[in-house]
Symmetry: C2
Subunit: 163 residues, 2 copies
């Protein structure tokens, strides 16, 4: 019997219309493909980053803290689509390890700006190399042009209203 994976190929492009109209096909869903691609990406990313004592989420916080935007915890939460309370725990952990520090925002004493330390930047630099090579493995089947294309399309879904 043909497996469910085998059917993927048939359905992708040139299957006769009649065979697609019978029932909703999951494998045509952008949402489903997004979920599966993300699951693979997350697993590969966590695996690659574990060497450096990081996971995808802590790596993301560290990377943003190393940026030039003087990002507050609130902005971090919004950008990473995390609840502010989750950011507290992530920032705590990275701060204990001396990779980032909280700096009160002079303009708004409620807010903490999160900034990478020199140690943090050093860890980030090597971790980023691992992360990139894991990412490369993920879309090794895509050409450079296709990667750019995918990045742009994803950005418009991930950040609607920007650009």
């Amino acid at each position: 019997m043909m497996s469910i994976f085998g059917r993927l190929v048939l359905m992708s492009n040139d299957a006769p219309e009649a065979s697609r109209a019978v029932e909703p096909e999951l494998s045509d869903d952008i949402s489903f493909l997004l979920a599966r691609a993300n699951a693979l990406s997350l697993a590969a990313g966590n695996s690659a980053l574990s060497t450096h004592g990081l996971r995808v989420r802590s790596y993301s916080v560290l990377a943003l803290a190393a940026g030039r935007s003087r990002t507050s915890q609130r902005e971090l939460a919004e950008f990473l689509r995390l609840d502010p309370s989750q950011v507290v725990a992530l920032v705590d952990e990275l701060q204990v390890r001396g990779l980032i520090r909280r700096e009160p925002d002079p303009a708004d004493r409620r807010a903490n700006v999160v900034i990478a330390t020199d140690d943090g930047r050093a860890v980030l630099a090597v971790a980023a190399a691992s992360a990139r090579s894991a990412e490369r493995a993920l879309h090794v089947g895509l050409s450079a042009a296709e990667r750019v294309q995918l990045t742009e399309l994803l950005r418009r879904i991930a950040f609607p209203g920007v650009g």
Copy 2:
């Protein structure tokens, strides 16, 4: 001060190379964009499906059970990237509600083929409409051609080695 979101636009395409080389930029990461896009997609999907007493994962199982592939629990797990033990719980739940049934595979008595009941197909039909409209809202900014393009690119990441 420019927010981290504001910087997104600048970095997307034509930022001078010098400003990108300073540190790794999260917003250029396919992995990060995948995670954020998926988070939005998952939230929208779960919200849309909750009306029908489903979530994205149970909907996925139901949709595959309604397909013509006579899919085993093992195949379900592989396709949805879930552990077989998680599939047990999802199938249990849908079976209790009478939406699917387990049918022993005559060819391999270890395996259960999961099949949607008529009730299950009816629920799926209306739930699918909700799911599709939630998905549409997600990529409303994309043209039809871009949606096809994105689907194809995602498929190659989500199912490496197929096609």
